[in-house]
Every structure is written in structure tokens, then in C-alpha cells.
């Protein structure tokens, strides 16, 4: 589904990703772990199409297409979803109003009929339950007055509505207490399927106790230096990134 080959990315003249390789297949859950500054957020931003990055080398192929040539909205319509580390607050734009526009943009792209307000509302109500999002929050302006945990739940709620094929979750666990983490993780688990892949980017192993990955990769200084199964995360928890950084891979 996703194939990243020798990806080199710079921002503001500074090299951040330095030859990253990664393959993700449908149905798989991958975790990318790494210390601060390793390039984790750059990877998720480049995948979603945020401006401000220069791709100097390499390629990203998504479903046989060159992902890097696609506009952000085209990626979203083709089933790519980024759960933001810092979801944006948007005054005056109703959460549900915005999401109906998004759902319908994606449906139109897939040749499906647009949902009217009633149909959308019943769908939204059903998906809201997944992340125990209060209805009053759904009716408010996008992320305005939401707590940190509510913003993250709102991201997962959006994912549940947009039904992506590849979900990139950027530090979805950051700033969450253990109860909120459990709710968010339950939401993610409920959306796991053999047609959908996840790329979870995290600093901490804690999230992986709740959303158990098939593959774990360690990202250090712009490259994946080690890959393994879920036990790798536990090993990291014990040794820290320090142990890996001194012996970088290829």
C-alpha cells in the first residue's frame, strides 16, 4: 500500500530525513518510535503533504501512485489520513459542518452520493460513540475550547468518519492521561481491519500496550535503524534510544 524508498527531506536548509525506507501493507499496524528530533513529525507531515519541506531524493509510492505529486486534499480523498499532533482550532466553523463537507468531498471523489444533513448526523452520532465524544463538542467550532484529550478524540472521531485506508497517527498519545489514552486506543483498535493500515508515530512505548503493533521501527537521525516486532518496543523501553544510537544500522 505504501512504499517509501530512500527518502531524503530537508526543511529550512537542514537535512532531516536521510534515506528512509519503509513498506506498509494493508491490514498492518506499524509503529515508528524515536527520540525528539529524529524526524518523526517530518515523516508524517511529508506524507500528508504539508508545505515547507524539500524532498531532495527518494520516492513515496501509495497504491501505485507517486504520493509526493498529489495535493493534500487528493491524498485525503485517496484514503490517507493524518491525525495531527496539534489539531488546529478554527473559530466560527462548526465541527460537524466541517466534517460533513469533508465526508462529502471524499464521497464525491469515490463516486458516492453526498450525505444530507440528517444522514450525516446519524452517522456522526454512531461514530462519536467510538471515542466517547460528547455531542456538545461535536457541535462546537472545530477544536475550540476542547481540552488536549478532547482534541485527540476529535481526531480519531474524524478518522472514524472519513474511513481512511492508511492512517498516520502523529503522537496521538502525547498529553493524554491514562484514561484518555485508553479511550483513544480503543477507538483506533475498533477501526483496525484487514483493508486498513496504520502508521503510529510515538515517542513512548506506553501507547503500544494499548494498540499492539505488528511491526516496530526505530527512527534515529532521519533513518530507520532497526525494525522488529512488538518486543522491540519493550526492549527500547528498557534500554532507551541511547543504546541504539551508538550502534546505528546500515
Amino acid at each position: 500500500m505504501l512504499s517509501i524508498r530512500n527518502l531524503h527531506v530537508s526543511a529550512d536548509g537542514k537535512k532531516i530525513l536521510k534515506g528512509l525506507n519503509l513498506d506498509v501493507n494493508a491490514g498492518e499496524v506499524h509503529a515508528i518510535m524515536g527520540p525528539n528530533g529524529a524526524g518523526k513529525s517530518t515523516l508524517s507531515n511529508v506524507l500528508a503533504g504539508r508545505e515547507g519541506y524539500e524532498i531532495t531524493e527518494g520516492e513515496v509510492v501509495y497504491d501505485g501512485r507517486n504520493l509526493l505529486e498529489m495535493a493534500p486534499e487528493e491524498r485525503a480523498r485517496e484514503g490517507l489520513f493524518l491525525a495531527f499532533q496539534y489539531p488546529v482550532e478554527i473559530a466560527g466553523v462548526g465541527n460537524l459542518y466541517f466534517l460533513r463537507a469533508a465526508v462529502n468531498a471524499i464521497r464525491a471523489h469515490r463516486g458516492l452520493e453526498e450525505l444530507d444533513a440528517m444522514d450525516f448526523l446519524s452517522l456522526a452520532k454512531e461514530r462519536m460513540k467510538l471515542v466517547e465524544l460528547k455531542q456538545e463538542l461535536a457541535n462546537r467550532s472545530v477544536n475550540q475550547g476542547f481540552s488536549g484529550g478532547e482534541k485527540k478524540r476529535n481526531e480519531i472521531f474524524q478518522m472514524a468518519l472519513l474511513e481512511p485506508r492508511l492512517a498516520v497517527l502523529d503522537e496521538i498519545d502525547s498529553g493524554l492521561d491514562i484514561d484518555a489514552l485508553r479511550v483513544v486506543a480503543n477507538g483506533v483498535n475498533a477501526l483496525r481491519s484487514d483493508k486498513r493500515a496504520f502508521l503510529m508515530i510515538t515517542h513512548y512505548q506506553r501507547l503500544l500496550d494499548y494498540v499492539v503493533p505488528d511491526h516496530v521501527h526505530v527512527l534515529v537521525d532521519g533513518r530507520i535503524v532497526e525494525s522488529g516486532d512488538k518486543t522491540l518496543a519493550q526492549e527500547l523501553e528498557k534500554k532507551g534510544y541511547q543504546g541504539i544510537e551508538v550502534a546505528p544500522g546500515q
Partner: protein, 433 residues
């Protein structure tokens, strides 16, 4: 003023229908004052950013008596659930299109022409008392042609739950047409009313020069919506002059998105303790449109509060002007006022001139003000695009959010949805969402 143009105004001034002596005198004073002042020029501080040169070149005339067919535009602008409606076409009252049935006893909602006969004493007591026709040339011009418009009187203690909808249609046809309606609202002690003052128009050159005067009695409340969207060649000059007694409340919302040139002078005088005055507005300009809001809130006595929020969205080569004046004389202690002006520039060629003008002579007051000029937030645009919205949809949605935040407290559903529709239709892409 160009002589031939002046002659046109004089001729139409002299050929007005008969009026009672007191009104004829008022008109005469108005015309004399207008002749002295002339059209404002950009040399005047109050008109620095708004040129009336294009307006002053046109030989506007009162519309002929035979009214054009405006049924379609009138029907299109009916508000669902708002039955109380007075319609004016080119400044002339259209009785057939108007409905004033079912008013509570004692409440008067009539054309000014009718009120001059039926309620002459009350009209005479208030007419021209609140607007400054001495200093404001267009108010003087409006006074020169006094005769038609609206008279509303809500007696003591009456809470009028049904909103009053005033629809003014400018339908110029081939010749430039002018109209000078006057709206007079007298809200007695403890009364309440909601007034929708709407201006629409068809293509062609028109001048709508309108003055509204509100006398808001003790503990009375007036909620005012002013919606202006006329044709591309229209000139709109709108004045609001309110006078508020103790404990009264005025809440006013303006939307301006039509006309080649729209100038609004909105003011209220807080003349009694504990009065609350609120002026809010939204202006949308694109192409080469020009919209100007000059507001004045005078805290004449202590212990009054005022709030002001104006937002502007400026696209193309549009030009917006906001000048918010707050006056607090030395004795008006414990005045509490807040004024905010926020502008969104959608294009590089758009322009906004924003200026708070605080004249505060009292020392124990709370007065805050702020003005911002910004662009759409790139982070927000990316967030929306990452959810599948196109760049244009994202921009439209954010613009809409910026604009409509202002109208969240509007509680007449038909007005709220009209505003939503108007703003959506104005947006690039014609409101696809």
C-alpha cells in the same frame, strides 16, 4: 458641486408634493444646509478614505410615480416567519406588497407618508431630533426630501414579539434614481421591538440615502438588523442616529455587501444611566467595491456600557474603511466600552483603513479597543485540506467562519439563514458548500 447637478437636486427639491408647514420648513432648512455643505470631499477628516466624486457626477432624480415591476425581487426577499412587512420601491411605499395585519393594539407600523396624517403630533415631536443634519451633508439632503419612509411606535410596556421587516428596493431602470427614506422608531418605556431594515436593488445607477432615527425610551429594547445588498452601480448612504434613555438597550447588526459605494454612519447616544448600546457589523467587499463604516457611541452620562464588533472581509481590489469613535465626556464616570475591528484580507490588492477614535475625558472608565488585519491562517487551510477539502473550499469555509462568528447571537432564524446565504453567495465559488 457641479452646477447642472445642483440644479437637478434643486428642481426635484422644489417639485416635491405638498407638506404641512412645519415639514416644509424642515425640508427647506435641510436643502439650505446641503447647499452650503455640498458633497463631502476627501479633505474632510470624516471622509478621508471615501470619495463621493463619482456619486456627485450623476444627475439622480426621484423615481417616476409609475413603479417598475419588482414582484420577483420583493418575493425573493420575503423572510420566512416574518409577516410584518413594509415594502418600498424606489422610495415609494408599495401598499399592495406590504402587510401590517395582526399588530397588538396601540402599536403603530405605518409608512411615514401615512403617519404625517394619522400621527402628526408624535412624528413632529421626534422627526429630525436625533440626526445631525447640521454637520452631515447626506442627512441634510435626506431632510430636504423628507416625506416617505416608516414610522414605528411601540407604546409603554408593549413587547412586540413579531419582527418588523422593512424592505427597500432600488430599481433604477435606464435613468439614475434617488431615494431618501426616513425611518423613525419611537419605543416607549419598557417596550421591545425587533426591526429588520433591508436594502436590495436591481442593476442600474441608484442613490439610496437613508436615515433612521430611534428614540429608545427608559428600559426599552430595540434589536436592529441592517442588511444592505444593492446592485453593482448603486450608491448607498445609510445613517442611524439613536438616542437611548436610562436602562434602555440597543443591539444593532449591520451587513454590508452590495453597492459600488456604501457609506454608513451609525451612532447612538447613551443619554440615561445604565443604558446598553451595541453596534456590530460585517462588511464584505470585492471587485472595486468600497464600504465605509463610521460609528459613534456617545456616553453622555455615567454608568453606561457599550460594545462594538465590526468585521471585514476584503477581496479583489475592494476597499474597506472602519472608523469607530467613542466619546466619554468628563462627567461620564464608570463608562464601560469595548470596541473591536477585525479584518481579513483575501487578496494582495484589497485595502482596509481602520481607526479607533477614542475621546475620553473621564478618568474612572473602562475602555478597550483593538483592531487587527490578517490573512487566512495557513495551518487551518492545511488542516482542512488534509481532511479532503479543496484549497478553495478550505478558504471559503474559513472565511465563512470568520464572518459568521459575528452573527451567532442572532435569534431570528430567518435572519440568521438569510445572512448565511448572503455570505455564502458572496464567497468565491458562489457558495458551493
Amino acid at each position: 458641486m457641479i452646477d447642472t447637478i445642483q440644479e437637478t437636486y434643486r428642481s426635484s427639491f422644489e417639485h416635491q408634493p405638498e407638506a404641512p408647514a412645519w415639514l416644509a420648513e424642515l425640508r427647506r432648512q435641510g436643502f439650505a444646509r446641503f447647499t452650503e455643505l455640498g458633497f463631502p470631499t476627501t479633505k474632510l477628516e470624516n471622509w478621508r478614505y471615501t470619495s463621493t466624486a463619482a456619486l456627485a457626477k450623476v444627475a439622480f432624480q426621484p423615481a417616476p410615480v409609475s413603479a417598475p415591476d419588482t414582484k420577483a425581487i420583493v418575493d425573493a426577499n420575503r423572510l420566512e416567519g416574518v409577516d410584518l412587512q413594509l415594502v418600498f420601491v424606489n422610495g415609494r411605499f408599495d401598499a399592495a406588497a406590504s402587510t401590517t395585519a395582526g399588530l397588538p393594539e396601540g402599536v403603530v407600523v405605518v409608512s411615514l407618508g401615512e403617519a404625517l396624517g394619522s400621527h402628526e403630533a408624535l412624528v413632529r415631536e421626534h422627526l429630525g431630533r436625533y440626526v445631525d443634519a447640521e454637520q452631515q451633508a447626506f442627512a441634510a439632503l435626506n431632510t430636504a426630501y423628507l416625506g416617505e419612509g416608516v414610522f414605528v411606535h411601540v407604546p409603554e410596556g408593549v413587547q412586540l414579539s413579531a419582527p418588523i421587516h422593512l424592505l427597500f428596493v432600488a430599481a433604477p431602470g435606464a435613468d439614475p434614481v434617488m431615494m431618501h427614506p426616513r425611518v423613525l422608531v419611537v419605543a416607549d418605556k419598557g417596550s421591545r421591538l425587533q426591526l429588520i431594515e433591508q436594502y436590495v436593488g436591481t442593476a442600474g445607477a441608484s442613490l439610496t440615502n437613508t436615515v433612521a432615527e430611534f428614540a429608545v425610551g427608559e428600559e426599552a429594547e430595540v434589536v436592529h438588523y441592517r442588511l444592505q445588498r444593492e446592485g453593482a452601480e448603486a450608491f448607498h448612504i445609510g445613517t442611524l442616529a439613536a438616542s437611548q434613555a436610562a436602562g434602555s438597550r440597543l443591539r444593532s447588526f449591520s451587513l454590508s455587501l452590495g453597492a459600488a459605494l456604501a457609506r454608513h454612519d451609525l451612532g447612538t447616544n447613551l443619554g440615561g444611566k445604565d443604558a446598553w448600546g451595541e453596534l456590530n457589523g460585517l462588511y464584505l467587499v470585492k471587485g472595486t467595491q468600497h464600504a465605509d463604516f463610521h460609528t459613534t457611541i456617545e456616553h453622555t452620562v455615567p454608568h453606561c456600557a457599550s460594545r462594538e464588533l465590526f468585521k471585514g472581509v476584503l477581496d479583489g481590489k475592494g476597499h474597506g474603511v472602519f472608523n469607530g469613535r467613542i466619546v466619554v465626556p468628563r462627567d461620564a464616570q464608570k463608562s464601560d466600552s469595548g470596541m473591536t475591528n477585525q479584518n481579513l484580507l483575501l487578496s494582495r490588492d484589497a485595502e482596509i483603513d481602520t481607526k479607533p477614535e477614542l475621546e475620553i475625558y473621564a478618568d474612572d472608565v473602562k475602555c478597550s479597543h483593538g483592531a487587527t488585519v490578517g490573512q487566512l491562517d495557513e495551518e487551518s487551510i492545511f488542516y482542512l485540506r488534509a481532511r479532503g477539502l479543496s484549497l478553495q473550499e478550505a478558504r471559503s469555509l474559513l472565511t465563512l467562519g470568520f464572518a459568521l462568528e459575528l452573527f451567532e447571537q442572532i435569534d431570528i432564524p430567518a435572519v440568521r439563514s438569510l445572512l448565511d446565504r448572503e455570505v455564502l453567495a458572496w464567497l468565491p465559488g458562489g457558495g458551493k458548500e
